[in-house]
Symmetry: C2
Subunit: 482 residues, 2 copies
Amino acid sequence: MSGEDAPAQQQNAEEQKQQTQDTKTPAESPKTESKPDPPPTSESTEAAAAADAPAAEKAPEEDTFSYRALVLTGYGGYDKVKLQVKKGKPVLKSGEVMVRVKMCGLNFADLMARQGLYDRFPSPPVTPGMECSGIIEAVGEDVTDRKVGDKVLVLNRSGLWQEVVVVPATNTFLMPEGMSFEEAAALPVNYITAYMMLFDFGNLRPNQSVLIHMAAGGVGIAATQLCKTVNDVTVYGTASASKHEVISQGGVTHPIDYRTRDYVEEIRKISPKGLDIVLDPLGGSDTNKGYNLLKPMGKLISYGAANMLSGQKKNLFAVAKTWYQQFSVHTLSLIQGNRSVCGFHLGYLDTETELIAQAMTTILDLHRQGKIKPRIDSTYHLEQVGDAMRRMQERNNIGKIILTTEPMKEEEKKEEVKKDEDKKKDDKKKDDKKKEDKKKEEAKKEEKKKEEPKKEEPKKEEPKKEEPKKAEEKEEAKKEEN
Amino acid sequence: MSGEDAPAQQQNAEEQKQQTQDTKTPAESPKTESKPDPPPTSESTEAAAAADAPAAEKAPEEDTFSYRALVLTGYGGYDKVKLQVKKGKPVLKSGEVMVRVKMCGLNFADLMARQGLYDRFPSPPVTPGMECSGIIEAVGEDVTDRKVGDKVLVLNRSGLWQEVVVVPATNTFLMPEGMSFEEAAALPVNYITAYMMLFDFGNLRPNQSVLIHMAAGGVGIAATQLCKTVNDVTVYGTASASKHEVISQGGVTHPIDYRTRDYVEEIRKISPKGLDIVLDPLGGSDTNKGYNLLKPMGKLISYGAANMLSGQKKNLFAVAKTWYQQFSVHTLSLIQGNRSVCGFHLGYLDTETELIAQAMTTILDLHRQGKIKPRIDSTYHLEQVGDAMRRMQERNNIGKIILTTEPMKEEEKKEEVKKDEDKKKDDKKKDDKKKEDKKKEEAKKEEKKKEEPKKEEPKKEEPKKEEPKKAEEKEEAKKEEN
């Protein structure tokens, strides 16, 4: 997919330099710009086919039509998602609509995709984004239930982080009166995920108990609100202490600071018999803990492997550890415990349009009744997507992170550059501090070794533990070279 | 547990001889009969404690009080369940009731227990039986909601195949007007199992599709009827062809003869996208087949390992094969398929009295409304328990097999002896035929070997395949000696 970087991106001299280095990767090598590049549709193969369509079929305004798009140019850190300009007005196929995007939602799957950890995502270069809100700008043939000017929320496998998108009309849902574009972009992925887990697999009923990990995240807040639509449901929610006030107000009965407490112990103190439902976005050893917390007829619903995300680039050590510890269960264990283990991921459910439409209808109804309301954590410009992703990955958000397609003002841009430079200085300071700490630690170890020669043996293992990290660095280096 | 064989048992000279041989096992060595033996309560440790209680606490009629009971005397074939006479009236503890049993239900778990394959079952000697119906004959202290004369159905971990049982009042449920004792004994295990699977784990809703294996069995018929309480549910049911008419009338939409057809292929022809719910009582490789038949958001509910049952004694080869092929699943596979795998066994749910009471209330309501009705396959006297178990294990039943405590009439007994002798002759004939067939087969092989010397190599493997069987025979022999 061709495209040039938007001016906003070029203001950052440091970043530009980085890009030049990156051009070694074929994904980013410049391509002929004479062939206009339409926005990706639900299937990237279709998009490619559309790009190859004869020029005669294209509208006359096509050559002047352009729009900004975020593009994942290769797997890696935050800077791999670049703002580019795409040219050419797409030709709509039967059943499709074109949407002028207002707001986009950020999801964990987008972070996994950037690191190359999400197999459902097309290969780079590709535009990320599973949800957005906007206004219909054109409708294709055979679309009878949408018209130009309709405000819609959109759900798609990928490709929605851009100003213009083309999707099947069945992937759009009419926004109810009084819903903001921000709310509409925050709704689809988190609320459908929480809804299907709690009410289809979980079969949530009055008086039951639910554990919600990352209770201050997008799915966490959606799940808490949906739990509260059922009578007398006890919600355990894990989040760092600074977020407890907000999640308590949102409906979490027992907030638990997973950083300072063992959440299993805390839950057992209050509910010795265990829980009815555990929602598990973490994977790895946490799935096993969740399984052991289930009471008879309890359901564990695994919907991610956030534990695999450690640092901005793929951390092979974290991935391997999470994979190695990933939960596997034997039916005889399930029978003896009267338990259920479920897996959910909306990204693998995209062909089930009817199921999704049913869930969406119920969710929009609940919104109309005032029973649910997305909590917006923060809104970033497309230019700031790196900061947005960092905020999510470092789990600093409470609620949904939104990207707006509204262009950044000039003075904001200048501020951004300054912030960026400060951040880099800050990062360097952090790095220096880490190095210093490491040196100090090593010095301490050396001293200890001298002091306690008897306990020397277990310490011999230390270098072994470091090995995977080194291997991983090498792997990363290789990737950068490719 | 002491006890003497009931007269009915002694009529069979062959069986008596067998018993004499069996006395080598400590389980069956004669014990002092002066210490009366109360019927087992819900926990065998409690029963033991009661047996050791001082004589002063016992009622005066205790010594003359006696009743017939089926007792599993050791793991093995059908003849390991013997009819004995227990003596002594039990003293009720607080919260308990004594029930004069009319009818008992036969379940797969009883067959597994007899072969030593059900770890939830107390060690022999012990009275099997998880469900029965009868009339309350005495109530202990603090029992306010049951009175002498109440007709009840009873659910217990074991111990119900006898004329008198003592259980916690909470394990009894009042029989509704117009329900027969046979129906009442057929209801608890099969209907609670089917109900919890379909409506708790399965979350069955209109327009969904369900696969029911062994659709002519007790759970199969219960599940079919419960599916029909929901609109437009499509039921696939496996059973041998001779049972298709009955199960179709009972509500199975697509009966499949698993003996002559590949059920996976048959289902894919009609429902290419797969199924919403698979109920799996078989285990082994069938669990994997069921898992692959699930559509997105589909639920596989495993509730047994009937494939382990092969022949009347524990078949280590069948057990090992089923165990080896037993399904195990990784959460990442569940996530990518949006699937759920659940395990259910009522025997492991016996502490969840509230959950069971809720299910039972709904089931009795549905019975009152005429929406469900147990189908009785056949009723056997306690003396005929071997025949009853054989009928179930050989899957000749359509519906529930019931044991009645009503004593056999003299002329029936004489007929039984004749039948028994005929059966033994028949068994001998079958054995002789098998031996002859084997000889013929071996002779054929020998001939083939001579004819096709080139293809000799793969045939060398044949003796290897036989090895597990020999090992298993040795294992069996060891067990018999203990």
